[in-house]
């Protein structure tokens, strides 16, 4: 029944005291936020902490929510700001990203294998995810975040523009340029693998 309610209605009811309904919002957005944070930090624990903090902040500041803007945009804005703060802290204590497909350390993320996939498929997927995470980390932070919002957050360009406080065209250009650079890196990688073989 709660699935029929839109985000704004849920927030209205949460503000009116129906606090348990906030769970529905958590269910709706948690996965996407986690995917974003995993691709940015590569650490599951840090990602989950950030996601939890974003939800708590939204809940604590619920009275300031205005139904004229989308709840998703607000939540993503909070989350992005939290990520940036965390990123600054992380820069002070840099962590080397190591590309390794078979020896996964505690810091690297291994997507959960689905029941239907073979161990080889799981390994390839992990490798692909690590590669993408590594290439994203090489991009300027704003560009990489725009790509993460688009693909891992599943956001529209208008929502990205609002969340990142930039124009619609800027959001599109960031995605385009980011993809071009990523494509170039993937092509380079493929070419170098070809040379080795």
């Amino acid at each position: 029944m709660n699935q029929n309610l839109n985000d704004a209605d849920i927030m209205k009811r949460v503000c009116a005291g129906d606090f348990l309904l906030f769970d529905e919002l958590v269910l709706r957005y948690r996965e996407r936020l986690l995917r974003f944070a995993w691709s940015k930090y590569g650490r599951q624990v840090a990602a989950e902490d950030l996601v939890q903090e974003a939800f708590l902040a939204a809940f604590a500041a619920r009275e300031t929510y205005n139904p004229t803007f989308a709840f998703s945009t607000w939540l993503w804005t909070i989350f992005l700001n939290l990520c940036r703060r965390h990123y600054k802290q992380q820069i002070r204590q840099p962590r080397e990203m190591v590309r390794s497909s078979f020896s996964a350390s505690e810091d690297t993320v291994i997507p959960e294998p689905s029941s239907s996939e073979t161990p080889l498929q799981a390994v390839l997927k992990t490798e692909q995810f690590e590669l993408l995470t590594m290439y994203l980390a090489e991009l300027p932070e704003v560009q990489a975040d725009t790509l993460r919002l688009r693909f891992f957050g599943g956001m529209k360009f208008t929502e990205i523009a609002l969340t990142m406080d930039c124009s619609l065209s800027a959001a599109k250009i960031r995605v385009k340029n980011g993809l071009l650079q990523l494509a170039h890196r993937f092509s380079e990688d493929t070419a170098s693998e070809g040379d080795v073989s």
Partner: protein, 200 residues
Amino acid sequence: MNCDEAFDLITHPTDHQCEELQWHLQLCPRCRQMQETLAPALSSFHQLLDASSEVDEHANHYSDLQQSTDHEELPAFPAAGKPFLSAETVRMAEQAATRLSAETDMNRKANSPAPLKSSHKRLMNAALILMAGVLMGWGISLEVPESSVPGAASAPEGKQSCVWIAQRDEISRPAVRMDKSSVNSVVLSCVACHLQSTAE
């Protein structure tokens, strides 16, 4: 579908294979080239997303079971002992809400056409100003006496009197004709009088 919409679909996390886009790509070589250039990056994102959606389905199936075990293993608050949510984070959320409210209002005002009432009001004002202008012009033309000439009438006392008026009176008499010297004196009187008034 235009190229801008096509780019939206090319980079869409889920709808990147819709028929509408395929039609556009067949017809538009520029977009087709763009898609081919971006393909290595796009396919990487799409494969991961497709795979994770499969994982999500699997995970949702067992979510209830996992939740009960997770709660036992993980502490509710971080071990450091400090509160999980800081006042700074809440302030951040409040600021974000304020900014988004302001931007949404601005966008709304920019996108929505001006209300009918205000446009009517503006038209009425313009009509009133026009009418007032016409009435004022008409009133001035009624007030000006036939014998007076603008500028000359306002010549201050003690200055040379306006020769043009005197000459006009004389010309109106049939016997009198204007010679060259009298024309020059009229011009000089006009220049002296009108230059003075413009300088003032």
